[in-house]
Symmetry: C2
Subunit: 401 residues, 2 copies
Amino acid sequence: MPEKRHPIPKGFLLSTAKAGIKYPTKKPTRLDMALIYSEVDAVISGTFTTNKIKGAPVKLCMERISSGKGRAIVINSGNSNVATGTEGLKDAYYMASLTARALGIDERLTYVASTGVIGVRLPMKRIEEGIGKLITGLGGSTPLDVAHAIMTTDTFPKIISKRVRFGGKAATMLGIAKGAGMIAPKMATMLCFIITDLNVEGTALDSALKEAVEGSFNRITIDGDMSTSDTALIMANGAAGNPLIKKTSKDYKGFKEAVFEITYGLSRLIATDGEGATKLIEVAIEGARTESDALRAAFSVANSSLVKTAIYGNDINWGRVIAALGRSGAELKEEKIDIYFGNTMLVKGGVSTGLEGKGERELKKKSVLIRVVLNMGKGTARVLTCDLTEDYIKINAEYRT
Amino acid sequence: MPEKRHPIPKGFLLSTAKAGIKYPTKKPTRLDMALIYSEVDAVISGTFTTNKIKGAPVKLCMERISSGKGRAIVINSGNSNVATGTEGLKDAYYMASLTARALGIDERLTYVASTGVIGVRLPMKRIEEGIGKLITGLGGSTPLDVAHAIMTTDTFPKIISKRVRFGGKAATMLGIAKGAGMIAPKMATMLCFIITDLNVEGTALDSALKEAVEGSFNRITIDGDMSTSDTALIMANGAAGNPLIKKTSKDYKGFKEAVFEITYGLSRLIATDGEGATKLIEVAIEGARTESDALRAAFSVANSSLVKTAIYGNDINWGRVIAALGRSGAELKEEKIDIYFGNTMLVKGGVSTGLEGKGERELKKKSVLIRVVLNMGKGTARVLTCDLTEDYIKINAEYRT
């Protein structure tokens, strides 16, 4: 769980507001808007949902990100502004332009992210009032406030921060994310914002983010439902004064690893907070014919409702794991498959080792490792997920009603 | 729900027994073995799971079915004899040979089907005793007994029967199936046995079954988990004395339709009995660019946990439907999508019609139709599924423990 005080990178100001986006009340009680603002032009990069239905804010970000420059990100929760047609798209652009005007910056440097219910127009009057509050309170919020403001079904705020040193200069990296359901492969999680005062060249920022997202957010699955709003943005404003990090710099590797540490840390927090989850599940495939076979096998196990309910029920049911492997499309031979739960080998060469009793102790842990060795080649993959419980059903049967 | 008395096709004898396969007790209380026996050589055809991990009985059936001939099917529930290695395969063959010897028939005409827990060796002593009871009681069981004997997590027995007339002769078709979980596309349901006294040529039987399965069992999904035991067998013994039905006969079309009626009826029963389900959901896609696009879109919606929990919660959340369409891989344009729940148009051209209130009444029904018109071409597809409830979790977290 996040520490209380996360540092804010130099030259960034945060703000949050209670705008009553989801429930109109005279006195909204919940933070539901946030603003991330850089005092100087920053380099920006992003990855977005590959769902063919994309939210209006995603369309706006995808259009603007090609400039590689950013100053501000304005965010709301409670309504995702998805499937709202051309009017919804206008709302997203208007949200950006209002924010830019109030900040006195170029509106093309202003990005928007929204999360929440699909198919309902944004309450623009409340958004307008919210933006007013964000401007008035600029600089008065903490990373924790921002993390709270962007939550929907999340049960805890998700923040990872890091103090780093490059080229003799101290700098800060801060990542804030939200996500608990509608989490599936090929995405960039629901929402993730990383800001840093490091001085980084655009292409280096871009490739570090894409590589980090591929190995972290794109390796989580909670329910196999891909969101229409997935957005990960990273902004670097150079306020730390370090020599420019390029892809060819010796500092690039360290920077790339730091970005990955943040996205991987946030991925673990998201999987841990999977809707209704009681346990984090890590599926590790080894010895697949290829890496893509390994990924296919890992996602097939991680997406299996039967595997996930068995883990929830403390049932050492490796039969459901082998069934999920068999339908994954990965090349395999039954008689070559070994399966471990934690360090306990349950299946050797496709048949039971009789160690189910010992394996059951692994299931009592908060974090369960399912390791499969296919003995077909050298492909490996790791995917994070969580167990499937009655609370997932409750949350999703009752959400919005 | 099935009627009390289903007819048995002429020349077939049924038998069931309490063998205590799952729980060894002195006096087993549950029917868990069944025998379907034809007094004369019958023509047989089958379809099987496409999971790369296949149960030992599936391997046996796949090997023997090429002869096109059958006399007996011996079945047990409580243990699927999957992932049991070469010893498990020997058990399946031994089960067939014991049955054949006791019946005095060629063991190559004897088929085996098993359903239940994966990865545990069959209790062969109890299987042997069970086969003894099946032989002693041969002809003493009803279709309902057989349907009961093959159930696992099913909450009701699944039977569809039909009286037919071909070439001036009255005949009977009887279909019995089981399945409630681990139900997913590309399969032939968990277990399905169809017997008829019609006189049918092997190739006609084969193509009628395959076409029927493709349009029915292969269009159900409960949890996206493909079984390792899926088996559908059809046996026709000719006892009705009708002129041989060939693929070129004028009777073939009627026969094919009758087989489909049985498999489709059983499919609806399976989806209705989806583990923990309270509602049957039918997803109909129209206007897709191609039929395979339509199928992709239909399965993406039908497999969405978020759609299924929303239906359970009586939440008219079409946003989750459009998100599932967007990630399906089907070609689509957001601004062309229309979505109906029952007869109520909720989305026109990608945006809300504002009729959510009216649509909510559709959700109160036991059977919910989600109809999507993509307006991209002429591809259509229908897929059956059910809602996702707390009871699915309970059943699967507690099953086997």
